[in-house]
Symmetry: C2
Subunit: 367 residues, 2 copies
């Protein structure tokens, strides 16, 4: 008899408190059918009408402007109102895409997310950032639209390809670089999760929740990224550029894999004080070493060579954090010690990136 | 020597306080060229870079989903950042459309509005509602995105067709039905404004500001329409339906003209307690009579016959205020005395509308 998870009760309470006139349930395809039935029954038992139930193929390609009108047309034809709640069950691309559509329909319907990927569970589902890509530039169109709840149930993740499961852990590494209160290791077992071991399901729920709490704590203090929320961009200026640069190549790279490289680059920058002249403390050097080992072990990179600096730079120039013609970034100087803003000049970035690439080529990947 | 208007100084201060890294100035075409030059010089004197300057044809047809990508592409190519400010100079359709585009670009650029119509000056430019239409349904896609400032300068309105100038005053009539502190009459002279008389320009600035203050006072207490802001929808449930119903006919009707009819219908409903059984006080009856006289005098309607109830009803069902299958409305029971929510049933609406139509046909238009 599986142990009752407290978290299962909480999402039902949250939904009941919203008193929706109905829900739209939008899922990624290929989820565990038994779990889908279990959740459908749970919605029914709440007496809430499911006005729309549909599936999308998840992944970055979903975050496309031209795919918005068909979804909005579904909102229209199913008679959703401002009092309806749109529930997503899927990865970060699904919650970003559907969250954005919901945020602009009738000037905003409420959303709730049930993440089915590690990335969404520790990061994307939380904090209200939504968006679609614009050409090759990520999240250029979007909104801040906080979910009414996020429900973590790691059972959804057992159908996830291992590569994607692992890549999502990069954001947890980032959280550990930001907040001394969370610890990266040990991770629960993925193999046990796949086998459906309840102890593993619970252990992952706790592990993912604790990492997500780093983000929610920061977002609560700065919902619209006017101040400290910006530190959550650690590793993402270069990470997004890598992701964009690889998008049209023969080796596309997952967001988490790109962020893992971005974090490794941030540590390299710190060790070479390329952007900010405060040197790394001895403690911070040890933290960097430990983090590299963890990234290496948990997040293999699919790239055999890294893109050139000149390929990355044009994407960095498009970053939303920029102000005027400065490419602004977050620098790391030890756990919980972030510096914002620091500014890349093209020449400085090229020199630093080239140094990192040499180091990366010579050491076991990554970094 | 024209008298210096204090309001001219305030918008420059507001812009300086924002410290933008540049502005996009998006105007309606066919504005007074001397005024455009004057404002361009004022922007230059602030040392603020105009990164994008472009013109659109105003009016409801602009509020179209498919026109968003070209505008977003302009945002992209002109290098606007989150620290840029988008300034609109035009009517409510322009500020709604451009305001929406700005609200989703990079998850939100700041906007400022310089209204050039009476409608925008007392209503549309204020309060942060943005939107585009979805098929025939108004503002189905949009956001709440408050401007950093709204600058009133009635000199922009002297190039406005008289019909449009007059129609915009309907929202001022609505404000007078909501707030006992504002007074509808007397209005300054439109003829004097056209001639550029400074005293008339100033008088209209004051008149429009006072009316706008009714809205800003309410919006400040309820920015996302979760409570009392809903009263600003007085006359708009039927007004929007009328506007939508006439959109594809040979007699399209301006928003203000539709709202004027909606307000007249709200007073008719009040006199017949169709939705709410509280009878009208003697004072409220006098207020209704005075308001009808004012509407009659200031806002001629272009319709010779009103649409049938069955034509209006399908549009009312789409109203964003609805919850489940109720068509919800705001009822009027005297100045400052609004009732929310009241619910229309199809049969009640038809009977009430038919009564109003008979009354309207028999009395001097409108109502």
């Amino acid at each position: 008899m599986p142990q009752k998870r407290a978290i299962d009760v909480a999402w039902r309470d949250a939904l009941r408190n919203v008193q929706p006139d109905g829900v739209a349930w939008i899922r990624e395809e290929s989820l565990d059918t038994a779990l889908v039935s279990e959740y459908r029954d749970a919605l029914r038992s709440l007496g809430i009408q499911v006005m729309l139930e549909t599936e999308f193929t998840g992944g970055e390609a979903l975050k496309t402007w031209n795919l918005l009108p068909p979804l909005l047309a579904m909102f229209q034809s199913s008679g959703l109102t401002r009092r309806s709640v749109v529930i997503t069950t899927g990865g970060g691309a699904l919650s970003d895409f559907v969250g954005f559509a919901a945020s602009i329909w009738k000037r905003g319907m409420q959303v709730a997310h049930i993440p089915t990927t590690t990335l969404a569970a520790v990061d994307a589902a939380w904090g209200g950032k939504t968006g679609v890509n614009w050409g090759e530039i990520k999240n250029q169109v979007g909104s801040f639209h906080p979910p009414v709840f996020v429900h973590l149930d790691s059972r959804w993740m057992k159908t996830l390809p291992q590569r994607e499961f692992q890549a999502g852990l990069a954001e947890a590494a980032k959280h550990a670089m930001i907040d001394p209160q969370v610890n990266l290791s040990p991770t629960p077992s993925f193999a046990d999760l796949i086998q459906g071991l309840d102890s593993s399901v619970n252990a992952w729920n706790v592990w993912l929740s604790e990492s997500a709490a780093v983000k929610t704590h920061i977002v609560a203090q700065d919902p619209h990224e006017e101040g400290m929320r910006i530190v959550l961009n650690l590793g993402h200026t270069v990470g997004h550029a890598l992701e964009s640069a690889c998008l049209s190549t023969s080796t596309p790279i997952l967001h988490g894999e790109a962020v893992a490289l971005g974090l490794a680059f941030a540590m390299w920058e710190a060790e070479h004080t390329a952007l900010h002249d405060e040197p790394l403390s001895k403690d911070a050097k040890q933290e960097a070493d430990a983090c590299r080992v963890w990234l290496n072990e948990h997040i293999p990179t699919p790239l055999s060579t890294l893109p050139e600096a000149e390929v990355l730079w044009p994407f960095m120039v498009q970053d939303k954090k920029n102000f005027g013609d400065e490419v602004r970034d977050v620098a790391w100087r030890g756990t919980g010690h972030l510096v914002w803003p620091v500014s890349w000049k093209k020449a400085t970035f090229e020199a630093t990136w080239n140094g990192f690439v040499r180091f990366w080529n010579e050491s076991p990947h990554l970094s």
